[in-house]
């Protein structure tokens, strides 16, 4: 039997301060980048604008394409090589260009095409892909994406609150929200273009990270029923250790699939795969270092009452632990324990 990380006894939660520091620093870096470098790099789906992928019959100079577009009055366009030196993407996302599309989204792309045909000839290039989005559609989509994120979190919260106790639900949702924040910071720091596919990646992560937390919490719930004496701190640590092999293996297979996407699925999917790959690490990290300390903190703030909790023995233990905490301390300072497994 091949075993990894079997019967471990790591005191994971001991490190929660470090973890909180690291993750807060990362989110702050993202926020700083947001403040310094300006807003989110939205794709044209969200801002409105025109995207064209052009394939020329022979290699072309991006400068010549740019000056051709300038003459046609499409001044804010961004021209990028795409793969070989005969393929380019043209992205006209400038406010002025977008405003011109209010009366018809196809206008700018038609002007670009007209100018290119005049300069290079109609047979010299082919439009492989064209996306033109009017300003109103973009605004609507942005709103919808926001609603989708909020609604997905809300739905998860409600489900968890029904299935688990509300404490678990809140901890799981806050930790998932943390994942979304960190992933957004990552997207911002790497200047990844936020398209609808990226939103899909973030929502998938929302589900995936929620799963990871659920697996651990499910074990916590079970261990709490079996063992009514140990403090929650120890139960959490034990549960994390017990689910560790599963976590490692599942993350390994998911990461394998994500890497296959990253390297073999083509350029269009790459941003999705990068965000997913990063998200898998964040989900692993957060279910251990964010969700669990949050659950501890919630327990401390609102200790479960003896009557409503079947694990009445545990509740008294909790109360005595709470008493040890210095006044004004917002989170319980974990006492170093000697080995989590008390089974």
């Amino acid at each position: 039997m091949l075993r990894i990380l079997h019967d471990t006894n790591f005191d994971f939660i001991k490190w929660w301060r470090w973890a909180a520091g690291v993750t807060a620093a990362f989110i702050l870096a993202g926020l700083a980048s947001f403040a310094i470098r300006g807003g989110v790099n939205y794709s044209i789906e969200f801002t409105g604008g025109t995207l064209m992928q052009l394939q020329f019959t022979k290699s072309q100079d991006a400068g010549r394409i740019r000056s051709t577009l300038d003459r046609a009055g499409v001044t804010g366009a961004e021209i990028q090589q795409f793969g070989s030196d005969s393929e380019f993407t043209v992205r006209a996302q400038d406010k002025r260009d977008v405003a011109q599309q209010a009366s018809g989204a196809e206008g700018v792309s038609q002007r670009i095409e007209g100018a290119l045909t005049k300069e290079f000839g109609a047979d010299a290039y082919k439009v492989m892909r064209r996306e033109a989005v009017g300003p109103r559609v973009g605004a609507e989509l942005r709103r919808n994406a926001g609603i989708a994120m909020l609604l997905a979190s809300l739905v998860t919260l409600v489900y968890l609150a029904i299935r688990f106790e509300w404490r678990f639900g809140v901890a799981a949702v806050l930790s998932t929200a943390h994942d979304v924040l960190v992933t957004l910071a990552f997207i911002k720091l790497l200047h990844i273009e936020v398209s609808l596919t990226i939103v899909a990646a973030i929502l998938t992560l929302l589900g995936y990270s929620g799963n990871d937390t659920i697996i651990i919490f499910d074990r916590v719930r079970e261990n709490l029923k079996k063992d009514r004496k140990s403090p929650l701190y120890d139960v959490l640590n034990r549960s994390i250790n017990e689910t560790l092999p599963r976590s490692v293996l599942t993350h390994a297979t998911t990461l394998a699939a994500t890497l296959a996407l990253l390297f073999f699925a083509g350029e269009v999917i790459q941003p999705f795969a990068i965000v997913m790959a990063f998200g898998i690490f964040v989900a692993t990290f957060s279910s251990i270092y964010v969700a669990s300390p949050l659950l501890l903190w919630i327990e401390h703030k609102w200790p479960r009452s003896v009557s409503s909790d079947k694990a009445s023995g545990k509740a008294t233990v909790r109360a005595s632990r709470t008493a040890e905490l210095p006044a004004g301390e917002r989170t319980p300072r974990p006492r170093p324990t000697e080995g989590a497994a008390t089974r």
């Binding site: 039997m1 091949l2 075993r3 990894i4 009366s103 018809g104 989204a105 196809e106 439009v127 492989m128 892909r129 064209r130 996306e131 033109a132 009017g134 109103r136 559609v137 989509l141 919808n144 989708a148 997905a152 739905v155 998860t156 489900y159 968890l160 609808l196 596919t197 939103v199 899909a200 929502l203 998938t204 589900g207 995936y208 929620g210 659920i214 697996i215 499910d218 074990r219 079970e222 017990e242 689910t243 092999p245 599963r246 293996l249 599942t250 297979t253 998911t254 990461l255 699939a257 994500t258 296959a260 996407l261 390297f263 073999f264 699925a265 083509g266 999917i269 999705f272 795969a273 997913m276």
Partner: protein
């Protein structure tokens, strides 16, 4: 034992159903033959590919209110959808989609379309056809001083006087070219020459831009002056000064005279003698003298009306106005016209243009103008690349996952790999069965789900290992393992399905495809991980009675 038999039967039945629903079958599809696309029956796996995978065009259309508000938008949109659908059906696309989205958009999806410009024209053309008699009363000449006065009052936003002088000069040349000394035309010439000089002295901004044409109601404007004149015409004061009962309409084609291009503009009776609503047939044709034409047929009532009206206007000129633009040059009415007529498109127009015009005329006019709110089109070759890449990523992801599972869990790993094979089969079958659209993000979601799908197996296997470590027998360990892992598996699946459902609700095409794939994947993975693998274990247990060790 019989329980086990039914389990195996169910799995086999589902496999058979999946294979059947995925079995390549004959479908009618638009395929490329040489340079053109034709309908043909091809045999392929019945998985519907999204526009981003097979190439094609996605259009979102909205009511264009820039030219006046529309009272009952919902009703107008419904009628517009009917017209667009009729046009698209005649356009010849396999599996087109025309549907309402929200309460203000029409979504049109045309798979495999190779000429997006043309498709957009067919969908968007208002195709409002009117027959109007050109003005006989020289109403415009009479109104010109009024126009000039309005412009002068407006602060002479007119172009520089030099341009006016130029136009006036070339205008004279034009007069000579167009008026071969006919009496009435001579008179007109005198009039307009006088007005020209008047324009020069008073700076009459309007009248200096237009010249008398060849017959009453026709005028010419130098191509370079067209935007200026259009700006004047858009002014409310000018609009209200246009002679009552008349309208000004631009001609469709420019005329070249010397070095200058001229665009005709016509003053027409605003009441059309008939409109396109009586039209029952239209077909393109090419005739030697007139070039490309669309021949149309009116219904009986239309024919009667047309005959009566044209009889009243013999020797008058009749403009055929499509979407407020005069088609060709208005012909003179020689005798009463019945149910048949033709629209001249002019020389050098392709037969395809005439075909498209005939098509939109047959389908009827759009009740409201539509504008494009969003357009996406993707070349077929790009879609093919995406499919190839996606399948390659899927195979590699499979291999990696298989390697991890078999190395780590040995015999049990092999069971889970077989279950994974079934998982892929079931998911694909479900997508085919529900006619779900497979998109590029959907394909990515599928690849990703292969990694996530084994999670349930991992949970169960780890649980069984724990039970075995506690010294339970193999049979009990398996039972307990499945039982304990179940709650976690269900919780994770439900949360993922909920997020996917939200994504489906708020996403657009490709992302909806992603959500659908995700939901199908999770459902299949629940079944394979819990039911199929369990059955495999039960089979194994029944074969090797009293097995002491389990390779896990």
């Amino acid at each position: 034992m019989s329980n086990l038999k039914y389990r195996v039967l169910l799995i086999v039945a589902l496999v058979a159903a999946s294979v059947w629903s995925l079995f390549p079958r004959k479908v009618v599809e638009r395929v490329k033959r040489g340079d053109s696309y034709v309908f043909d029956t091809v045999t392929r796996v019945p998985l519907k590919r999204g526009l981003d995978l097979q190439g094609g065009m996605h259009l979102a259309l909205e009511i264009d209110e820039s030219k006046g508000t529309i009272a009952d938008k919902a009703e107008a949109l419904d009628r517009a959808i009917k017209v667009v659908r009729t046009r698209i059906d005649e356009f010849g696309v396999a599996e087109p989609v025309v549907q309402k989205s929200g309460d203000n958009q029409i979504i049109v999806e045309l798979p495999g379309i190779d000429d997006p410009q043309r498709a957009m024209g067919v969908v968007q053309k208002s195709a409002f056809l009117e027959f109007q008699i050109t003005d006989e009363t020289q109403a415009l000449e009479k109104a010109l001083p009024r126009f000039d006065a309005i412009l002068k009052e407006a602060g002479a936003a007119a172009g520089p006087a030099v341009v006016g002088g130029d136009t006036a000069k070339s205008g004279k040349g034009l007069q000579e070219l167009f008026t071969p000394g006919k009496d009435s035309a001579g008179k007109t010439k005198g009039d307009s020459t006088k007005k020209d000089s008047l324009a020069l002295t008073t700076g009459g901004a309007f009248s200096k831009l237009i010249q008398q044409g060849q017959f009453p109601g026709e005028y010419f404007v130098a191509e370079s002056d067209v935007p200026t004149l259009q700006r004047y015409l858009d002014m409310p004061a000018i609009q209200s000064a246009i002679p009552p009962g008349k309208v000004l309409r631009w001609g469709g084609e420019t005329q070249t005279l010397g070095a200058t291009q001229y665009r005709p503009i016509y003053l027409l009776d605003s009441r059309p003698i008939i409109t396109g609503e009586y039209l029952v047939g239209a077909k393109p044709n090419q005739v030697p003298l007139e070039g490309t034409v669309v021949e149309f047929t009116l219904n009986n009532e239309g024919g009667r009306r047309f005959r009566a009206e044209t009889a009243k206007h013999i020797r008058d000129y009749m403009a055929i106005v499509l979407d407020q633009r005069v088609m060709g040059r208005p012909p003179v009415i020689q005798s009463a016209i019945g149910t048949r007529g033709q629209i001249t498109m002019g020389q050098g127009r392709s037969l395809q243009e005439a075909q498209d015009l005939a098509l939109v005329l047959r389908a009827g006019a759009l009740p409201v103008p539509l504008k494009v709110a969003e357009v996406r089109n993707i070349g077929a070759s790009l879609g093919q690349d995406s499919i190839r890449n996606g399948v390659r990523a899927l195979v590699i992801a499979m291999l990696l996952v298989v390697a991890i599972m078999v190395v780590y869990y040995r015999f049990s790993g092999v069971l889970s790999v077989i279950a994974l094979g079934l998982y892929i089969l079931y998911t694909a079958a479900m997508l085919a069965y529900f006619n779900a659209v497979l998109t590029l993000p959907g394909l990515a979601g599928f690849v990703l789900s292969v990694g996530i799908a084994v999670d349930a197996n991992v949970l169960i296997f780890e649980r069984i290992r724990e039970e075995l470590a506690r010294g339970k027998t193999v049979r009990t360990a398996i039972d307990e393992g499945f039982r304990h892992a179940l709650t976690a598996i269900i919780d994770t699946s439900v949360t993922t399905i909920l997020t996917a459902a939200v994504l489906y609700q708020y996403g657009t095409g490709p992302v909806q495809g992603f959500a659908v794939t995700l939901i199908a994947g999770i459902t299949a993975s629940l079944f394979t991980a819990i039911f199929v693998v369990r059955t495999f274990y039960l089979l194994w247990l029944s074969r090797s009675r009293g097995a002491q060790t389990l390779s896990i």
